[in-house]
Structures are given as structure tokens and as C-alpha cells.
Symmetry: C2
Subunit: 244 residues, 2 copies
């Protein structure tokens, strides 16, 4: 018996999110089917994250115990041969027996993409939030910096999360511009339910002039969800990396 750690990349567009559900197609469901086809086993799979419907992953991490004889270096190719085209195993490695994809995680990085242009984009469709307005990039950059640090992020969570505390530490929050695309790169020790999408929605309000950058600290300390921006749509969100 060994404990495996897989890194997954997927397009969330066609799925009802990560977590297995009855009567819905999920990433977890597809991964379990693939693991069973290749190993003959149906182990319990732990995931670093439970992404919502439409959210993408560049480096989600899962762990599970298996007695498969498939060599580690052949496992990604074998699993990718039976996974749908929009899910792939990027790498596989043996981990310590007590490694747990969710509970061992020390931090995560997310990327949120915003496409700011009047016309909709066929290329970025499904991979960025289309905001058909001009956005004040410098103001958004300034606002993003205010999220860094240890704060109670109650104003930036949706109901429905299962977290014990709303205190999180954001290590970095940067806005990067490349043509019409604005990318929020944000990393921290953890994120509340919908937290990155609410931060992205709030930054767009800043970009539109509805919120001033210097109001952010006050909105955070208010703990009042109604003072933050709306929850940005799922298609702009990428779980980028999980730190252990």
C-alpha cells in the first residue's frame, strides 16, 4: 500500500464542480472512474480543493492510497488515456503515508482573469470574466494590495462554506495587465467560500469607480458582505497551485 499525490489540470466548464454528486457530472466522479479503470481499485480520494461549477484548475492536488503496480512515471499517461479531454493528470508522485491533500495544505494560489473590452471574446470565452467596460487598472492594483495580511474576511465570503473561522492570511495579491486581460494573482494560507470571486468582483467595482481603493481596509474590518462587490462569475477562476 502506498499513498499517491496527483496534480490535476482541468477545464471546469462542463462540470458541476469538483465534488461527487448524484445525477451530476463532476471532476471527482471522472477521476474515480479513471483510477478504477487503470488500477482496478476505487480508493477514497482527498482533494486540496472543491472547486465550484465552471471553475478551472491548473494544479489541484489529490491524494489516495493504492496498491497499484502501475509504475509512477507511467501513471499520468495511463490515466490521461481514459480521462475526458478536459481533465488531465499533470504529474504523479509517491507521498508519505500521512500526507493528506486537504489537511496537509499550507497555502494556495488562485488566478482570476478579467477581460475588459467592449466586444465579447471568442478566444477567452469560458476562461475569463468579460467586463465590457473600461477599468481603472491602477486603482484596482492599489485596491488589491490592501487585501495582503491577516484579516477577518467575513465581508468576503458567501454563506454555505464550512469554515470554523473567517480569519485568513493573504501573502500576496497582485494585478497583472496583458493587453485587454487583467489577472489577479492571489495567494494565502487559505480562502473562504467564494472569497477570491468576491475579491475579484470588488476589484471590478474599484475599476468602475464604484468603490475607492482606500475604502478596502474599512470594508474588510466592517465584516459586512453587502459592502463588498458582487461575486464574480466562475469562468474567470483558476486554482493555480497548492503549497505543502
Amino acid at each position: 500500500m502506498k499513498n499517491l499525490r496527483l496534480i490535476l489540470e482541468y477545464r471546469g466548464t462542463r462540470y458541476a464542480g469538483w465534488q461527487k454528486q448524484n445525477n451530476a457530472v463532476t471532476i471527482q466522479g471522472k477521476l474515480e472512474e479513471a483510477i478504477e479503470k487503470i488500477t482496478g481499485e476505487r480508493p477514497k480520494i482527498y482533494s486540496s480543493s472543491r472547486t465550484d461549477a465552471g471553475v478551472h484548475a491548473l494544479g489541484l492536488c489529490v491524494s489516495f492510497k493504492t496498491s497499484t503496480k502501475v509504475p509512477m512515471e507511467k501513471l499520468p499517461l495511463a490515466l490521461n488515456s481514459v480521462l475526458p479531454h478536459d481533465i488531465a493528470v499533470v504529474s504523479a508522485a509517491e507521498a508519505d503515508m500521512d500526507f493528506h491533500a486537504r489537511f496537509s495544505a499550507k497555502g494556495k494560489k488562485y488566478i482570476y482573469k478579467i477581460h475588459s473590452r467592449a466586444a465579447r471574446s471568442p478566444i477567452h470565452r469560458g476562461f475569463a470574466w468579460h467586463v465590457p467596460r473600461r477599468l481603472d487598472f491602477e486603482a484596482m492594483q492599489e485596491a488589491a494590495a490592501h487585501f495582503v495580511g491577516k484579516h477577518d474576511f467575513s465581508a468576503f465570503k458567501s454563506t454555505g462554506g464550512s469554515e470554523n473561522t473567517s480569519i485568513r492570511t493573504i501573502h500576496s495579491a497582485e494585478l497583472i495587465k496583458s493587453g485587454d486581460i487583467l489577472e489577479l494573482h492571489i495567494s494565502g494560507d487559505g480562502f473562504l467560500y467564494n472569497m477570491v470571486r468576491i475579491i475579484a468582483g470588488t476589484l471590478v467595482y474599484v475599476g468602475l469607480g464604484k468603490i475607492e481603493p482606500q475604502e478596502i481596509p474599512d470594508i474588510i474590518s466592517s465584516g459586512d458582505r453587502t459592502r463588498a462587490g458582487k461575486t464574480a462569475p466562475p469562468e474567470g477562476l483558476f486554482l493555480s497551485e497548492v503549497y505543502y
Copy 2:
């Protein structure tokens, strides 16, 4: 009567290329249908480029004459409301009556994307050539620079083009690396049939060590198609911009 100039963005994946054909779905066909729905006219449409099946465009230019009363600033939104989701008009402007999207073009820029990683990528699928091997980026950069200048590019064209001469001037050819993605940015006064895809295929041969960077000038002057690399697949190619 006025002469219009539209900039188009599209995903080429589902189409048999730009040019209208019987019994095949094409970008031109879809654009003509949309123009007819919005203006009631079916004008002759000139295009800067005839992209092949699977090739994408960020800034293809078309021109056509029309007597439509739809205001210019409303035309993109109107056309986008009837175009399929994978084709969009980015902008519309009135041009001089003698402007011709194809014959007035002074140059073009293409981008070719290569994804170099063992595992296939759900995110880049359809938008990059997946090369599951490690590539020597520095050698490829060095090789790319050799394409700049005025040359007879007979060794870098496929049969089937309608060009009178194989002499073209390449203004710049740069390779940019971002994570696992290599992007060739190449601009010139014009390109022969499949020229960018053959250059991309040749650069990958350089990256794999099958061709040395310093062999490129000799391959160009040989005029021998068999000495260049294979034609890279269409999904990595983006017509980026047309210069007038």
C-alpha cells in the same frame, strides 16, 4: 454607399477555415449570414487572410461596401448578437472607398503557440501545439532570429499557395517563454502558404536537436522544402494583426 472595415476574432476549431465552401461551415459563411441578418445586404467581402481549418484569429480584417444605416458604433454589438459564440467582431470603422482588406495590407503578424510538457493540457487544448518533449528554448530563439530579413522562402511553403513570388521580408521573429508555453511572434510583409506553421515545425526540430540553429540560413537558401521541419498543426496558429 460606404466602405467598412471590421476586425474579427475567432476560434477556428469548429470551422473548415475562413473561405466559403459548399457543404462546409466556414467563418466567411457565418459572417455573411450575420451581415445579411443585420443589414439586409449580402455584399462581397474581402479578407486580409484566408486562414485554414483550425487556425484562430485575434485581428483578421475584412472590408465590404454597404449602404446600411446601422450606426458604426452599434455594428459590432449587433453583429455579435447573431454571430456564433466562437466568432466576434471586435471593431468596425468606415474606410476610404478604395481600401481593400487584402490588397491594402502592408504586413501581418502571426503568433504560434507550442505547449512543451509531458502531459496533455485541458486548458491549452485547441489553442497550442502539444509537444510532449523538452525543447531547447535558447537554441530555438537563436534559430528564430535567422528568419528575419528579405529571403526567398521556397523551403518554407506548402504547395497549393497562389503566390507569384516566394520572396518575403520578415521584420521580426521572436520566441517568448511563459511557463510551459513557447510563443513565436513573427511579423513580415506577407507569408507564403503554411509558412508560419513550417517555421514553427522547424523551430521544434531545433528544440529537439534535429536541426542546429546555424543551419537555418543554409536551409532558407537551399529552397528545399524537405530540409525544413514538418508543418506544425493548425491549432497553435493565431493571425494576430494586419498592418495597413
